[in-house]
Amino acid sequence: MSRRHLGIFTAAVLAAASLTACGGGSGDDSAGSSKTLTYWASNQGASLEADKTILQPELDKFEKQTGIKVNVEVVPWSDLLNRLLAAAASGKGPDVVNIGNTWSASLQATGALVEFDDATLQAVGGKDRIVPAALAAAGAPGKPPAAVPLYSMAYSLYYNKKSFADAGITAPPTTWEQLAEYGKKLSTGGKWGLAIEGANPSENAHHAFTFSQQYGGEWFDSAGKPTFDTPQNVSAIKRYVDFMAADKITNPSNAEYAQNQSVSDFANGKAAMLLWQSAGSNLKTQNMPADAYGVAPVPFLASPPAGGKKINSMVAGINMAVFKHTKNRDGALSFVKFMTSDEEQTILNRTYGSLPAVKTAASDPAFSAPEQKTIQETLVTTAAPLPQVPEESTFETLVGTAMKELFADAASGKPVTEASVKAKLTDAQQKMR
């Protein structure tokens, strides 16, 4: 190779190199010493800043009690999983983190999280205090949980009382068929029946789970292998997308919603119904008073097929996990104990409109508002955890994205058929390994 050719070759390598070298940058927060902890909180309130304001007084309280200073960073949902993954991969990062409870088994598989065996659970207050359904969503079955439940939530149907009254509807729908029928009555004059967060893969995947349960489907078999394109799952996804594609009770614009625009549409009356988890505090910040909307359980199928389950929500919630790489394990555990104490559970869940993950705090009158009652009832009777398998987060991404594409088809007038749904799900399944 002549010198000039070598030069050309080098130039080409360098010019092209930027591609493989594009790595994800992660914060270089150092794991805590004995007197400080780093805590990544998830975004539960109206904004990152609001969360900081809510959490800071509690963290100050913890510092007063133990002398340990907690540095909190509120991480937006769009970044949280990537950031956790980077922390798990590098062994650097925060000591204590909030995780979406559906990711528990996925993150558990990395082996980066402290296991909450009975002794460890005892150290943070004891296993018996924790709501069993919430604990079941904190790791793979048969293994010590990888996290401790912090906030509990479930999906409910939020409906605009005035729109319902104007359309002459007296009670919220209890079946999907009713929901579609009411939705048609409500979709007039530039307003729509149901708002859907169509471009948000996680939201889509949560509904995929619920609908699939009602049709008697599963996303993973007992061996943990994906079963995405079964007839039950195809029917389930089609039913959900059909609110836009066939019933036309959802504004086609919702196919591009991924920043909680559906909540805004509901709050300012553009849509009369919304399926959401603990929307109350969010609606309040958007100036929708609590008496303007009703909260009802998520509907069921009028005549469920054989094998259909009476499930209308996932066990939603936020768990708290401790990274094994922490230099202050005892401090981190005492922080978990503090955050799951009765007092903090009451304060924080009341603010966020979620439910305590410990039984002992649930009796507080703050949790007897209609919204919380509905959530409570759902969690106790008709909620099930998403499959606690390591591939869960991949399922959310792949199936959620497939549904996003189906909504895009529906919005641009392409037909959504059993065949097109099945094709998308088969594609998604092939990408699992």
Binding site: I8, L19, T20, N82, A112, A199, K431
Partner: protein, 330 residues
């Protein structure tokens, strides 16, 4: 610094080669002179290794492993699968392979169109602003704005503009001008490709403009005068004076623009939020989704390496061809 001041001396004394004075002067200078360039290069080499070469090598290594969430914490536990990741991702009969190929074609068409339009706009603006006139400085500054804006801010603004119900684009097209009856989608479906292209051209053309404007400064005015005297019109001068004189600038500009556009991650990521519609599924987003979103870093790396090889071949071929032509001309 001693070397740099004495070096010209050596040149000046060149005619007296072989004289004893020269030999005496050279001897002590020799070793220092050979060490200093390396010392000066060292920081760049170290950084180059740390920023480009080592991550690339690691990327190649990752592409040979089954690196999933089970092994991400301790790579030594990840099974070595050899070329299995390449076989799986480049298998054009599988869903993943088909999508990768689709994404590749989308990216190629997107890059060629984007570079083409950006170059055309940049060239036109540079030629128009070549002669001094009132307000030229203001226009120059104005044209550079898209390039000066932070990419995230600019693209988020575009994503607001392009929203179907609340976006300004549909407001103007549908409500004010009444050009369409239906509000079209710009961020999903077929239009998403064109939206992405427009944003990309909007972001890139000022760079082309900047480079070409700088290049035009070096074209001597006499050449245009001579051409004008010979009776050459505007187009003839453009073709016979401007373009040949800009050739060295264009060679680099087109390559750099192509590579940037081909690898562009920020624009689609911010515009579509992580998962782009199929019609605008650029390869960078596709790879991101395949590794970060599905926690399969082995396959993601395999795609990256395959793409690196492709860009390497394209770049090398481009440079070889353009260099050979230069030699022919010389």
């Amino acid at each position: 610094m001693a070397t740099s001041t004495t070096a010209p001396d050596a040149g000046r004394r060149e005619p007296r080669a072989g004289s004893p004075a020269r030999k005496a002067a050279r001897r002590p200078r020799g070793p220092r002179r050979s060490l200093l360039p390396y010392l000066l290069l060292a920081p760049a080499v170290v950084l180059e290794l740390a920023i480009h070469v080592i991550p690339m090598v690691v990327g190649v290594w990752m592409s040979l492993l089954e690196l999933t969430q089970f092994h991400i914490r301790d790579w030594s536990t990840a099974p070595f699968v050899g070329l299995e990741n390449y076989r799986a991702t480049l298998d054009l009969n599988s869903a993943a392979g088909k999508e990768l190929l689709h994404s590749f074609w989308v990216t190629l068409v997107y890059s060629l169109l984007s570079v083409g339009f950006a170059w055309l706009l940049g060239m036109a603006a540079a030629v128009v602003l070549q002669r001094p006139f009132r307000g030229r400085a203001i226009l120059r500054a104005l044209f550079l704005t898209p390039y000066a804006l932070p990419v995230y801010t600019a693209v988020i603004t575009w994503s607001f503009l392009l929203q179907r119900d609340t976006g300004l684009v549909n407001h103007v097209l549908v409500d004010q001008l009444g050009l369409m009856n239906e509000r079209p989608f710009w961020l999903i479906g077929d239009n998403s490709f064109w939206s992405l292209l427009v944003v990309s051209v909007w972001r890139n053309w000022p760079f082309a403009f900047l480079c070409l404007m700088a290049g035009l400064q070096n074209v001597p005015g006499e050449m245009y005068e001579a051409a004008a005297i010979d009776g050459a019109g505007f187009w003839r001068r453009l073709r016979s004076v401007t373009l040949p004189m800009l050739r060295p600038v264009n060679l680099v500009l087109l390559l750099v623009l192509f590579l940037w556009t081909f690898n562009d991650f920020n624009t689609p990521y911010v515009l579509f939020g992580g998962s782009a519609p199929e019609q605008a599924d650029l390869i960078s987003i596709h790879i991101y989704r395949s590794s970060f979103k599905t926690w399969d870093f082995g396959s993601g790396s395999a795609m990256s390496v395959a793409l690196l090889l492709f860009l390497l071949v394209v770049s090398a071929a481009y440079l070889l061809i353009t260099n050979r032509r230069r030699d022919d001309h010389a």
